[in-house]
Structure formats: structure tokens, C-alpha cells
Symmetry: C2
Subunit: 293 residues, 2 copies
Amino acid sequence: MASEFELIDLFKDIGSKYYSKNSIIIPPGDDCAAFTSSKPIVTSVDSSIEDIHFPKDIKPSLIAYRSIAVALSDIAAMGCRPIAFSISISNLINNREWYEDFASGVKEISDEYEIPLIGGDFVKGPLNINVIVYGEPYNKAILKRNGAREGDGIYISEQVGRAKQGLNELKSGLKESINTNYYLKPKPKFALGEKISEIASACIDTSDGLLVDLKHLLDSSGVGAEIYLDEIPITKDINDVNAGDDYDLCFTVPSKANITNFYKIGEVTNDKSIKFFSEKGYDISIEGYEHFK
Amino acid sequence: MASEFELIDLFKDIGSKYYSKNSIIIPPGDDCAAFTSSKPIVTSVDSSIEDIHFPKDIKPSLIAYRSIAVALSDIAAMGCRPIAFSISISNLINNREWYEDFASGVKEISDEYEIPLIGGDFVKGPLNINVIVYGEPYNKAILKRNGAREGDGIYISEQVGRAKQGLNELKSGLKESINTNYYLKPKPKFALGEKISEIASACIDTSDGLLVDLKHLLDSSGVGAEIYLDEIPITKDINDVNAGDDYDLCFTVPSKANITNFYKIGEVTNDKSIKFFSEKGYDISIEGYEHFK
């Protein structure tokens, strides 16, 4: 049995070596943490719940890693670099081993992206991990969802459906594979976000499914699209265009920009509908994860 | 039954009239919100759980108001002004009426402090409200816990135990009184924080109990104190010095500073212990709410 203060001790120094690099002027341990930046601050919160956002019975270190990674993906989707993060943990378990393993997952991703943990909260309740992320632009540009315009190309950087495949493999009892790792330890696309931050007209991360997330982007921009289903790299079958958890970036780029090495999957239109084209005969509609449906 | 998107609609414009005043440059609806500030950013997250942080069966609007107020109190404790807040809601209920009432509480406190809601998350799970707050210094100074020095006076601004009294009244079936309001709708001490931000040497908000929170401040500062129990304004009895939920500020001020209109309850010493003095014969030890104890 661990006390709240023992638990705080497990977490309080995670990433402390990155305070200076990220201009953290008040570290955890006060009523608030504080940091400085000469640029705009981007911020988001993501909640991860057992059996919804991660399977029951995965290791606490993986719960930690994944919950933080998916939150960081929102910073990458803005074309920004991460500064710091906080975690609020609700858990019914209070044995020290659980928290030690959880903290090791927090430390791993803190070191991977050189970002410190700057705050959090512990409460006793059903397992629920809330991660708050803070970031700033690499240069000046911040990518938004609402900038897509007629004629822009629509791009993704990786094949869709790998996370779903990984989750299915996990559920079937497989412990570790390339796909299970892809699901359990998503890699926020910071380098990609930086690369496209000055040329893309709009961007979103693909957490709920490529098509439903693309639809959010198009709706925000007040436009539609023609989608070339045959051009979308799939893992198992065409339903992968509706598979969640990939955490790739889906972005639009004006046609005059020079962009290579990505999958062009369609074009933005002024018509507000989404039209699918396939010579292979694929037939698909948009589905996506919606809570409370 | 409400869909996630209907719920988002209930919340997306709360406090939008304060975007400009608080330099919100990307409102909710994107992967992240964004704001600018020429000053340091202070930030904190607070988790509120049914039956721990608020009683079962209080109105959703009060759950919302209270959860946000206690999070904002951390900004006040830093002597800072609030800029914005986000809310992550886990709830098993998904009827529209619950969320409409909850949103009305969010709107009330947003208007009271002129701060916008800039983000959040909805998940289906046991009731758990996480509130993230963002602030900046009024001028330059940020109050911390670690600046108390020998000879500093120790102050509070209000009588202790009113929130506990309010909670007891609620539990005994009373619907509304000055005390129940004090418990249900705590008022973060922003004006007080601003007033003392340039003269106090250290500050903390009294969420867990005056004595235990004062002990956190003294430990952070590496000092001790002599406490004059007879000088502490109490509500019911001397045990109120260990009652939580008051959300006053407890702060230390160098002896040479001129400060009036507050309760001086003790003095900082170099000895790391806390000594209690009472001519009335009060005998007390430090207790405070600790999760997982």
C-alpha cells in the first residue's frame, strides 16, 4: 500500500533534466507549474479509459506510454513541438508496483521526446488516465483543420489499419509483433508535422479513422473531396480506411507546392460532399468511433 | 441519448466572448487550442470524483462549478490571474439534460471570471471531472511555496471550517445556506492573490486543511513555525484547523512589510518543527486528507 506522497515521489523528477531546455521555471510540487515561451502555446487534454482506449490487462507502463503518446499526437497535428505534459491518474489499485511500472512508461516517453512531466493529480477511482500536453510552433506556423481549399491535394504518410491489426493480434493472444507495437506505442508524427508546417493548408491526426477524421477537416474548412480509394495503402482490406488508432497525420497541400514521399489519396473540392472513386470496385462509407453512440 | 457531437455543441462556445481579452488564437474544435502571452504560463490539473470531492446527487451544474473553482484556486495561490480552462468529463450518463445542466455551471463560472473554455474531452466511464487551468502573473511576481523565511508572519484571510460545516449541513439534508454555498461554490482568491503577490514570501491554498497545507509550505521552504491557535478564527471548534475545502490562501509575509486586515496565526522559525501555543488550552495535531491512506 502506497501513500499519496510516496506516489508523488515516484513521479516528481520525471524529465527534470529537460526543464531548462523547455523553459520550465516552476517544476511540479507547487500549486501550479510554470513555463515561459516567446511563441503561442498549443494545448490539449486526452482521456484514456480501460476497455475503450486500451485493452484490459496490458502492463501499466504501456497504459502510461500509450495515453501520453496519443495526447502528444494532437501537438504533432498542429505542426508543433512538445514542451511538457501533465498526467491525472484515477485508479482503484494502490500498490506501489503498479505505480512503479506506470512511472517507467512515463519516463520512457519523457526521454524519447525530451519533455518533462510538470504536474498531475492522483485520485482513487476507476482507471482513467488524463494527459495534458503543451507545445509551441517549431517556427511560426500552426497547422489548423480549417485551411483546406479547392484543388489542394490530400495526403497521408503511412498505410492505414496497422493499429487495428495490432489490436486484433493482441486480442487473439499475441504478445508482441510489429503491429501490436504500432498499436501500443504510437509515435506522434512530430518530424512530419514540422516538415509540412510551412506548406500544408490543413492537418488532423487520424485517431478515430482516416475517413471520419478527414471529414472533420473538410467540415472545418467548409469544403468537400474526391477520394481515390485505390491509392490508399491498406493493411488488410478497404475497411481499414475506417480503422482507428493509427495516429498518422492527414493533411492538405496546395497543388502548386512541391511535395513527394507521401500518399496522395484525393483532392479537395468546393462541393461539400465526399465522393469515392475506385477502379478496383471498392465500396465504402464513413464510419468512425463515436463515444455515446 | 446524446451523441458526442451534440455534447460538443453544448460546450464549444462557452466563454467565446473572452477569447480576445485572453489572447486565445485557436478556439476549441481543432486538435489543440492555442493562446499567446508575453508572461510566464502557470498551469495545473485537478481531478474531482463523486463521493470524494463532491457529494453524490448534487446538481450537475454544481459539480461543474465546484470542480472548476477548486482548480482555479491553484492559479490564485500562485498570485496569478486565470486565462482559460479545459474540462475532461468521464460520465456513465449520456442524457442531454445532465449535460445541459452541467454546461450551465461551466458557463456561470466562465462568466464570473471572464475566462473561456478552450478544450476538453468526453469519455464514457464512471463520473470523474478533470479541470485544467491556465494563468499568468498579474504583474511579474509568481507566488511559490518555498520562499518562507525565519521571522515571516503567517496569515490567512478568513475563518477556517466553513466548508466542512457546509458539507455537514448538506449531508444532514439542508439544501442551501451560507455554509453550503461556501462549500459548493468556493471562490478562488484572485483579488487576494494579486494584492499579496508582490509582498508575500510564500503562499498555498487551503484545500486539504489549514495545518496540513501550511506544513507543505513550510516543508517546501525548509523552515518551521510557531502557531498561535487562539488567533485562528474557527467556525465550530479547534478541529477546524484540520478541515478541508476552505480554499483560502495561507501565506507568509516578511516582518518588515506592512500588512493589515488579515489573521496573523503564527511566525516562521528556523527550527523545522511546528510548535502550537494556546492559552485557551487547545491541543491539536496535524491531520489532512490524504488519498490512498
